[in-house]
């Protein structure tokens, strides 16, 4: 038993034919009731890590425990209490928002799913779009629907891959506020991969910096700024991405 919401030890992924691991002996714990950012350049291993956490990618070695469930042995038990959103997944375009959310309510065995769907639609300002085909919505509206899908089961652990990618600043800010509000209200744990440093600085109490499949550094945003003597997280990110931790 561990008090961490997410516990990862010696997590490694070596893709077939690759000469270096995409993720190399990762060790980290993420405690309950917080938002943690996962930062790193392209190819740093963020999406690979998230994919292993949700179980669509099997690690070469290592262990993952989420909500005290061994994800390599019994992931479906934990998946009922988790959710995930990523630019790599989408919803059937022809189905209405209501139909999509209904299907996922049943997949997650949500009690009182109708009221839960309406609550989410109200919170995410989707009420007037409920009966419109998902494919007819704008990018910002679609992102809100995907977020509603991710919150349909009131997850204790929410994994997000680039939650505000390709959104205009206003919509992105709205999404960030909503996520922070959800986290505060529910006490959920959120792990989010992002390239948006301002987003991470604003939302996350803790940041894991990845570089070439490894954890390059970790700490609270303010602590990292102080450690590297920089003014913002983007400069810290660039320093680590280009020069490594020891440079």
């Amino acid at each position: 038993m561990t008090s961490a919401a997410i516990h990862v030890s010696a997590l490694t992924k070596m893709f077939h034919g690759a000469t270096t691991p995409a993720v190399d002996h990762l060790n980290f714990d993420i405690s309950k009731n917080c938002i943690v950012g996962l930062l790193g350049g392209n190819g740093a291993g963020k999406t690979t890590t998230l994919s292993m956490l949700v179980g669509v990618l099997l690690p070469t070695s290592g262990a993952i425990r989420i909500l005290d469930v061994d994800m390599l042995k019994d992931r479906h038990t934990a998946l009922a209490r988790m959710n995930f959103s990523s630019p790599y997944v989408d919803l059937p375009q022809r189905l209405s928002v209501r139909e999509n959310l209904t299907i996922f309510s049943h997949l997650y065995n949500v009690k009182n799913w109708k009221s839960q769907m309406i609550d989410l639609a109200e919170g995410l300002e989707l009420i007037k779009f409920l009966d419109r085909p998902y494919g007819s919505l704008s990018a910002g509206q679609k992102t809100r629907v995907l977020l509603a899908k991710s919150l349909i089961n009131k997850p204790d652990v929410l994994l997000l891959d680039e939650p505000t990618a390709s959104l205009d600043p206003d919509t992105a800010d709205w999404i960030r506020s909503y996520l922070m509000h959800y986290q505060k209200e529910s006490g959920a744990t959120i792990l989010m991969a992002s390239h948006n440093m301002q987003e991470v600085e604003r939302m996350c109490s803790d940041v894991i910096m990845m570089r070439t499949g490894k954890i390059a550094d970790r700490g609270a945003p303010q602590a990292l700024l102080a450690k590297y003597g920089r003014d913002d997280l983007e400069e810290v990110f660039l320093h680590i991405a280009r020069e490594g931790v020891d440079a």
């Binding site: 990618l57 998946l79 790599y88 997944v89 299907i103 049943h106």
Partner: protein, 265 residues
């Protein structure tokens, strides 16, 4: 409803919603088996009226065609249902939900079966109203044949899905080829004895062969070959079990390889 039943229900609901949203889809369910039935029905009528072939009967040609269409449409619909999640980039969402692989299998099979049942109902009605033909004239003997063919469509459909997992969306081409590869081997339009001896061994290893040989015998002698039915049924279960194991194995391999999130590409 238990959690498992609810998740399978969600998959069926998805298919119902998709069908409701797309009239062309519903039309396509009916179109192919109905057109198939009409073309074969007129050909059969012509041959029968002109005594072009001794021994032909309406029951034989239309019966075999109707039964084969059921199997073919069902396995195509199973593949199609799965492909739609791949095309929509929704497969990743399904796989990160609590939906277990065995529930996914049951869901796609039930969707395939229900879609095929709609299509076959149309074909059945076409045969009945245009040619005054009903396969149920042959009696309850048709039921075990239907069961074997339905199970048969499940393992073929699952195998096609497995090929999509293995080769990506381009694996769908195997699906369109499957019908053409299987038909010559399972004695739909001619008896197994018409095949070269080496092909007969392959033919007798496939469950539908026992159905179509039995149907021929049933029409000729009004007797159901129970031995054939038993062998066909057991073989179907063996093929189904093998296809389930193979699907689970390939799903695990796909999770090792990665790319389940981006399998629409």
């Amino acid at each position: 409803m238990t959690g498992s039943a609810k998740r399978i229900y969600a998959m069926i609901l998805r298919q119902v919603y998709l069908t409701r949203r797309s009239p062309p889809r519903l039309i396509s369910y009916c179109f192919w088996p109905t057109m198939d039935m009409i073309v074969w029905g007129f050909l059969n009528q012509y041959l029968y009226q002109n005594k072009a072939f001794v021994g032909f009967s309406m029951s034989l040609l239309l019966g075999t065609r109707l039964l084969y269409s059921l199997s073919e449409r069902s396995h195509v619909q199973i593949m199609w249902g799965f492909l739609e999640d791949v095309w929509a980039r929704n497969l990743g969402n399904m796989l990160i939900s609590p939906l277990r692989p065995i529930e996914l299998i049951v869901g796609v099979i039930l969707n395939g079966f229900l879609s095929a049942a709609v299509g076959m109902s149309c074909a059945y009605l076409a045969a009945y109203f245009i040619f005054d033909y009903t396969i149920f004239k042959l009696g309850v003997a048709v039921l075990p044949m239907l069961i074997i063919l339905i199970i048969n469509s499940w393992w073929i459909g699952l195998t096609l899905i497995t090929l999509i997992l293995r080769y990506g969306p381009s694996g769908e081409h195997f699906g369109w080829m499957a019908g053409f590869v299987i038909v010559p081997l399972i004695a739909v339009f001619y008896p197994v004895s018409a095949l070269p001896e080496w092909l007969q061994y392959i033919s007798w290893s496939l469950p539908p062969t026992y159905v179509f040989e039995s149907l021929r015998e049933l029409i000729a002698t009004q007797t159901l070959n129970m031995h054939y039915m038993m062998v066909g049924f057991v073989l179907s279960l063996v093929f189904l079990a093998t296809s389930v194991v193979n699907f689970l194995y390939q799903l695990k391999k796909a999770r090792q390889r990665g790319g389940l999130f981006s399998s629409s590409e």
